[in-house]
């Protein structure tokens, strides 16, 4: 495939709003996880974004008001992203820029709140509840399109925790097919009772801050995040970050709805396909940002898959200890971590984790390392066995 340059990007998570907040938290090894205040019925830690409820949507878009769209707007307002999009719109035309967003639960929290306020006699939802612009999965894509005044191809990818990794693959195809010149890709997923109690019911939520790859790991800390990037053909980009998408690999586990294939075959296939797509050998990859959820099964199978494809020399780590597992926004959040690593010359380690599971054979790094990576692979795996690996690199 031809590479797509990353023209600009922005990220908002529990680490703070914007790229600089992420960089400093990564380099200072400061976790964004805190005891869950969003829902006191559960004892756990979450990666909550501060200030989401204070965000005011433009009056003309107030029908979109819900936690997920407020978080989307907070994210869009960072790092001059809107100005970049304005320039892009003027250059290509609004209808030549696609918007491709990933989410797992969109604004379902609005429905959770509406259910608390059903009419006691009729069960009816409150009059000010708007399904189409909040709960509906497509609502976040529509909100972003309206906010950025873009009218190109529209897509909402919802494949659980691989959603906002797969947006890069969809963007490449749409640009390659000529349907658009550039794409705003992103992911937005916000805290809600569905995921907190759902993952809780599956026994996957840790009571303590998540410890990926630890021998006594106890599961995920749920996070929320919004992240966006602009991708376009290198020869068409007016300016860019010096980084590019070089390959993607997608696969299905064909195994189980909530448990990954224990031998890691589906995950390995996604990584192998990404290498093939990028026309790279495994030893070209300088660092692997793992999916690394700290669930017992995920980390074990991912270690097997990495060892199979890369052997035990390539440094790998999970950054979920910083941000929590941001689910449908994990792909774009970890893409932002990868971009930060390229830009500032370091590899993030794995925080909260004191030692690596002795059964693992890949090279999991706990401490940050100084490095000048050329290519980085990022993994995102979702329920339903939806696997996606992305390869980013310094643009040459």
């Amino acid at each position: 495939m031809f590479p797509l340059v990353i023209s600009t990007f922005t990220t908002t998570s529990a680490l703070g709003t914007g790229i600089e907040a992420m960089r400093s938290a990564l380099q200072d090894r400061r976790s964004g996880l805190a005891p869950c205040s969003f829902d006191t019925r559960l004892q756990t830690y979450t990666g909550m974004v501060q200030g989401v409820d204070e965000v005011k949507l433009p009056e003309s878009m107030s029908i979109f008001n819900c936690r997920n769209n407020r978080l989307a707007q907070l994210g869009l307002q960072q790092d001059g992203f809107v100005d970049h999009v304005t320039a892009l719109r003027e250059r290509y035309g609004a209808d030549r820029v696609a918007v491709i967003i990933g989410t797992s639960t969109a604004g379902i929290h609005e429905t959770e709140l509406a259910y608390q306020h059903r009419d006691p006699d009729t069960g009816k939802l409150p009059d000010d509840y708007h399904f189409e612009t909040t709960h509906n999965l497509f609502a976040t894509t529509q909100f972003v399109r309206h906010y950025l005044q873009l009218t190109g191809p529209a897509l909402m990818v919802s494949t659980a925790c691989s959603s906002s990794a797969k947006v890069f693959a969809s963007a490449w195809r749409l640009i390659a097919s000529g349907e658009c010149d550039a794409a705003v890709v992103g992911g937005v997923d916000s805290l809600c009772f569905n995921t907190l109690h759902g993952f809780g019911a599956l026994g996957l939520v840790s009571e303590t801050p998540t410890r990926p790859c630890a021998p006594d790991r106890t599961g995920i800390s749920i996070g929320e995040a919004a992240g966006f990037a602009i991708v376009e053909r290198p020869e068409q980009a007016e300016s860019h970050t010096g980084m590019a998408l070089y390959g993607y690999g997608e696969s299905s586990d064909a195994y189980h709805m909530s448990t990954p294939r224990p031998d890691g075959a589906g995950a390995a296939l996604a990584m192998e396909r990404a290498l093939t797509c990028a026309n790279l050998k495994a030893d070209a990859i300088d660092y692997i940002n793992m999916h690394g959820t700290a669930s017992e099964v995920n980390d074990a199978m991912e270690d097997k898959a990495i060892s199979k494809v890369f052997g035990n020399a390539t440094p790998a780590s999970s950054t979920k200890g910083w941000t929590g597992h941001t689910l449908g926004a994990a792909g774009i959040t970890e893409a932002a971590i990868v971009f930060t690593a390229f830009k500032h010359g370091f590899l993030p380690g794995t925080i909260n984790t004191k030692e690596v599971d002795p059964d693992f054979s890949s090279r999991i790094i706990l401490d940050n390392e100084t490095a000048s990576p050329t290519y980085i692979l990022s993994n995102s795996f979702g329920f339903g066995g939806s696997n996606c690996s992305l390869i980013f690199g310094m643009y040459k």
């Binding site: 019911a201 299905s252 064909a254």
Partner: protein
């Protein structure tokens, strides 16, 4: 975008039970008569697995099965695109209800089935496919949005694909907030190359003019088309049944997706 070829179709909706009946109705050989949707018991899911699924997942598996059976392909070799308006409304209702309680009791099975790619997950297990699968959402435009992703995959990845679009009526109180007349499921296998099994060729173009989508003069069929987001595919199905035709579907905002079918 480049051309793709329709290799096989599956349909399941009230009064449109299977592609054969649907084709007869859409070519005027048989009148449309509303009938209750048959009980969904997809044979491709093992009984123990099937028990963990509701109608939303089952409908997808049923139409996907018919489409691959009609197209004479090995389903394990197919990548897939599943499109939905909003996901599984019954599960959304059950979980949103459960989490109103002081001690929420969320079913683990319901939770993992709540992800929008649950039908894709069950399908890949049923046919043992390791191929890529993308699940997309598009509210009323779900079929058109999914079609663009599917066509981009067929033409840019140069691989055949299974496209499934299905939506199931929500229970109250969500139904009042998101009304749908009935359930509708459609699936088609699209291939980058023409084969002996090809029904017709297909090109898709996003058409940046505001205009009206293709509608049906027959009031009953028009009611079906408007009654479910996946049923917006009905005009496309008619063109496939006729072997050719140009149809236009609503695409987000005022745009239209033009689908041209040719023999």
């Amino acid at each position: 975008m480049k051309k793709a070829y329709v290799q096989g179709v599956g349909v399941l909706a009230p009064g449109l039970v299977g592609w054969q009946q649907c084709r007869e109705v859409l070519t005027g050989k048989q009148p449309y008569e509303h009938a209750e949707l048959p009980k969904l018991v997809p044979q491709r899911l093992a009984a123990a697995v099937r028990r963990r699924t509701g109608d939303y997942i089952r409908l997808a598996i049923e139409v996907a099965s018919e489409a691959v059976d009609n197209s004479d392909v090995d389903p394990s070799t197919l990548a897939s695109v599943f499109c939905t308006s909003d996901g599984d409304g019954q599960i959304a209702h059950n979980i949103c209800e459960a989490v109103t309680h002081d001690e929420p009791m969320v079913s683990p099975t319901q939770f993992h089935n709540s992800v929008a790619n649950a039908p894709a997950g069950y399908w890949s297990q049923a046919v043992q496919s390791f191929e890529p699968s993308t699940s997309v959402a598009g509210f009323d435009h779900a079929f058109a949005v999914g079609m663009i992703e599917a066509m981009a995959q067929v033409t840019m990845e140069d691989r055949p694909i299974l496209l499934v679009s299905h939506d199931v009526r929500f229970p109250e109180p969500l139904h009042s907030a998101r009304p749908m007349a009935s359930s509708f499921g459609v699936a088609m296998v699209l291939s980058p190359e023409k084969t002996n099994a090809s029904l017709c060729a297909l090109t898709a173009t996003i058409h940046r003019v505001s205009g009206k989508p293709s509608v049906f003069e027959d009031a009953a069929l028009e009611a079906v088309r408007k009654g479910n987001p996946a049923a917006r595919s009905l005009a496309a199905l008619q063109a496939i049944a006729n072997g050719s035709g140009t149809v236009e579907l609503n695409y987000p905002e005022e745009d239209l997706l033009r689908l041209e079918f040719a023999s």
